[in-house]
Structure formats: C-alpha cells, structure tokens
C-alpha cells in the first residue's frame, strides 16, 4: 500500500543537493521564503555539533568516573558488561520520542536524552581499559610509593587510552547520528533538511544527508587524531 507509493517518490540529485548547501532557494511551502544555503546549513550543523558535544561531555562526566573507579577497584564487572549490552539494545527513535514526550522538547532535554546513548560505551570501555592494564605495572607503581589516585592517573589511565578513546568515539558516533533526528524533539539540527521534505525539497533532503555524513566522518577523524596525541609515545611504537 504505502510502500509502493513511496517507491515512486522523486529523489534529489547530487548536483542539486550541493547547490542547495551553498545557495539558498525559494521554497513553495514557506511562501517563497528562501531556504537552504550556506548560512542555514552552517547554523544547523553548528546546532548539531553543539548538542553532540554537550551530550558527549555529559555522558563522559557521568560514565568516566564510575567506569574508572570500578575498573581500578576491580569490582562491578557484571554491571559494566550488562550496561554495555543493554545500551546497544535501546532503540534510538523510541528513546528520543519517549524523552521528548516525558521531559519535553528543547536543547537541554535533547542533551539529556542523547547522553543516555553515550553512557554505556564510555563506562564499559573505561572499566575494560583499566582492568586490562598489566597488574605487574600497578604493583610496581604501588611499590615505588604512588597513591591510589596517582596509580590511576599516571599508570592506569595512560595505558588505557586506546580503550578509553574507543568508548568515547563509539559514544560520539552514536550521539551525532541520533542528533540527526533531534528535530523530532524540537532541536533543529541538519536532520531538519532530511525530515522536512516538503519545506526543503528533494535536493534539501539529500543535502542534509551529505552534510550529516561529512560531519560524522570529520568528528571521527578528529577523535582518531586526538587519540594518537593522547597515547604515550612508548605505546604508539608497539604494534596494535
């Protein structure tokens, strides 16, 4: 029924989409008001980046201390693993819709909803990363008189950087991807181009998809670079 109708909807062209990104055009729906163009694209991209950064920061603030503490003490493995597994099973669309309906729309509320997606990967990887550190290194650190906090900060965390960053990268990808449907909860991200087909047209939809994909790939590259910077030189030389 609907499915067959949908198959025959027109779709935009790559050329038209690229033009849409840079050059605003009049939309029949908004009564000839200009839509698209570089100004609006940058504005939407910045909102998406803002809500992503806020949500990742919030999930780090919650998940890192817990994961590092549990990993250092070596307790709560079942909790860390179960949370990691449960986190993967949360349907993104249901989460956004549910949070919007329960706590309301807006940047603050969307940040909270998105950070829920980021907590499991960060917590689980923090736990696993710290646990994987060679116990002999920790014993040696304790032997030279380091305090527990020093052991965590100067021995365990530097050695766990690759795993810690894997969690943060995973969280960031999940959050930036889901931030695309944030317009459903009242925050206009690049997903607005994609979800509001009748305002932006087929070229707008495709333009939104292209810019979202570029944004996510850029974030991933930036975090991969950050990981390389944070990994101590001795570890970098070791084959992965």
């Amino acid at each position: 029924m609907t499915a067959t109708l949908l198959t025959h909807l027109p779709v935009g062209s790559i050329g038209g989409a690229i033009e849409f990104i840079f050059q605003s055009q009049s939309s029949s729906v908004t009564g000839g008001k200009e839509v698209g163009g570089l100004t609006q694209t940058i504005e939407l991209a910045l909102t998406q980046l803002e809500v992503t950064v806020l949500a990742v920061a919030l999930s780090m603030a919650i998940a890192l201390p817990i994961g590092l503490y549990l990993g250092h003490r070596g307790v709560g493995e079942a909790l860390a693993v179960a949370l990691g597994n449960a986190g993967r099973a949360v349907p993104e669309l249901a989460l956004i819709a549910f949070m919007a309906a329960v706590i309301g729309v807006g940047l603050f509320n969307v940040t909270i909803a998105l950070s829920i997606l980021g907590i499991p990967p960060i917590l689980t990887n923090a736990f696993v990363g710290i646990r994987q550190v060679d116990r002999a290194s920790v014993d040696a650190a304790r032997g030279v008189g380091m305090t527990e906090a020093e052991i965590l900060m100067k021995v365990e965390m530097p050695l766990a950087v690759p795993t810690l960053m894997t969690g943060i990268r995973g969280a960031t990808i999940a959050i930036v991807a889901t931030a695309t449907i944030a317009p459903l909860a009242g925050v206009l991200t690049l997903g607005d181009y994609i979800l509001n087909r009748n305002v932006y047209g087929e070229d707008g939809v495709l333009a939104g998809a292209i810019v979202v994909a570029l944004l996510a790939l850029t974030l991933e590259f930036a975090l991969a670079g950050l990981q390389r910077l944070l990994t101590s030189r001795g570890l970098r030389l070791r084959p992965a």
């Binding site: 949908l6 779709v11 349907p91 919007a100 309906a101 309301g104 990808i173 009242g186």
Partner: protein, 251 residues
C-alpha cells in the same frame, strides 16, 4: 505537552509512513491521549497490542535479512584479508567509514540509487554490521595458536582444510560474539528504517510520536526482540562449539 503536540503535527504531515496505523478504535486512543500525564495506558495496550503484529514481523525480517547479508559480505571479506594480508588495513578503514555515517543520512544517501523502501533499509543496516563482524572474525582467526596450526599442517592438511577444519572452528566464539553485538545493535537501529520507508517497529513510533504508551510498547518489543536474538545466537554458539562445553565440564 501542548508545544510538543504542535510540533509533531507538521512532522506527522511530512511523515512518509503508513497513516492507517492508528485508524478507528480511536475512542480509547483519544481518552488515553487526553491524559498526557499517564505514562503507560494499560487498558489501551491490552486492546491494541495486535496492531504491533505486522510491524514486529517486518522488524524481524529487516534484522534477519540485514544480518545474513552483512555476515555473508563481512565473512567473505575477512577470509580474503586472511589470505591477502595487504587487504587488512584498507578493508578495516572502509568498513569503519561505513560504520561512521549516521544511519538516517545513510538511508537518504541511498535513495537516489535504490529508491524508497525495504531494500534501502536493508542495505544500510547490513552495512553497519560489516565492521564488527569483519573485525571479530579477523581477531578470532588471529588468536588461533600457531602450534595448533602447525599440528594441523603436520597432519597433512592443505591450507583450505586448515582454515575450515581448524582455524574457523576455533575462531567461532569470537565470530559469534561479533554477530551478537551486530544483531543487538541492528534490532535497535532498525527502528530508524521508517525514514527509508522500510517499515518495522519505527512505523508505529513515528506515526504517534507523542503517545508514550505507544512508544513504550514499540520500544519494549524491540528491546525484547534484541534479547531473544541474542539468546538464539548464544544457543547456536553452544551447539557449534561442543568441545568448549566438554572442556568446561572437565575443569
């Protein structure tokens, strides 16, 4: 709540999905919706649970086909890279890039090529499984002890026999671990297939996005489905690796 309803209205008009999901029987729906403070309307759920049958079946189909297709491609790529070492890094980078592209964007990037509908959703969903299945298969194969491979060669196994009779069976736990992660995430991700016109449990959610009873029901079915798929794969792994059970019994 009022602001949310106002917001959802234009979106609902844009929604490209089946509008007939919440047809008729609207008296209960309305009385339930009129009371937005009520998080979960048990009466409505009891009377309307049958509406979720078709989306659930569609969801299972989306996930099963995507996982099978993703596994076939990723497994073939892993075997290729296992034989030709120089392929490893480019294949890991390639599958990683696919994994990074947000799903909603992926659907709409595919539209000019594949059109709206289930095929597009399946292509995108299976693309997301490649990275994890590929990586776990490679790790599993790499972790096979060299001494075991030597023993196999010593017994006169050819390269192909060694792969299928020694290396792959020993790598099964890691391969299945990758499949389980991929499957659970795909069940969750498939709710977004609605944006590609692909059906599934995202259909009812998107159709009535402010009605929490509906969201909890559809989201709950998806999460239960993820658990069920996970347990099935775990069972398959147990059956496929009887020697691990024997070892555990001895220990």
């Amino acid at each position: 709540m009022a602001s949310l309803a106002a917001l959802a209205l234009p979106l609902a008009k844009v929604g490209e999905v089946g509008k007939d999901f919440f047809h008729e029987r609207s008296s209960e729906t309305l009385s339930c919706q009129a009371n937005p403070d009520k998080l979960f309307c048990f009466e409505w759920a009891k009377d309307n649970i049958d509406r979720y049958g078709t989306p659930t079946v569609q969801h299972i189909e989306l996930v099963a086909i995507s996982i099978l297709a993703g596994f076939a491609v990723a497994f073939a790529l892993a075997l290729l890279a296992h034989r030709h070492h120089w392929l490893r890094t480019p294949l890991l980078a390639g599958t990683g890039a696919l994994y990074t592209v947000p799903s909603v964007a992926f659907f709409f990037l595919l539209l000019p090529l594949t059109g709206r509908g289930r095929d597009t959703a399946i292509i995108a969903l299976s693309a997301y499984t490649l990275q994890i299945i590929y990586r776990n298969t490679m790790t599993g194969l790499a972790n096979v002890p060299a001494s075991v491979k030597d023993a196999g060669r010593g017994m006169g196994l050819t390269g192909r026999q060694l792969l299928w009779r020694v290396e792959l069976p020993l790598a099964t736990p890691e391969i299945v671990a990758g499949l389980r992660i991929a499957t659970v995430s795909t069940v969750a991700l498939a709710t977004l297939a609605v944006f590609a016109g692909g059906g599934g449990l995202g259909d009812p959610i998107y159709d009535h996005i402010t009605f929490t009873t509906n969201i909890i029901l559809a989201g709950g079915i998806a999460m239960l489905m993820a658990i069920a798929f996970d347990l099935i794969l775990l069972g398959i792994q147990r059956l496929a690796t009887p020697w691990l059970r024997a070892a555990r019994g001895q220990a």
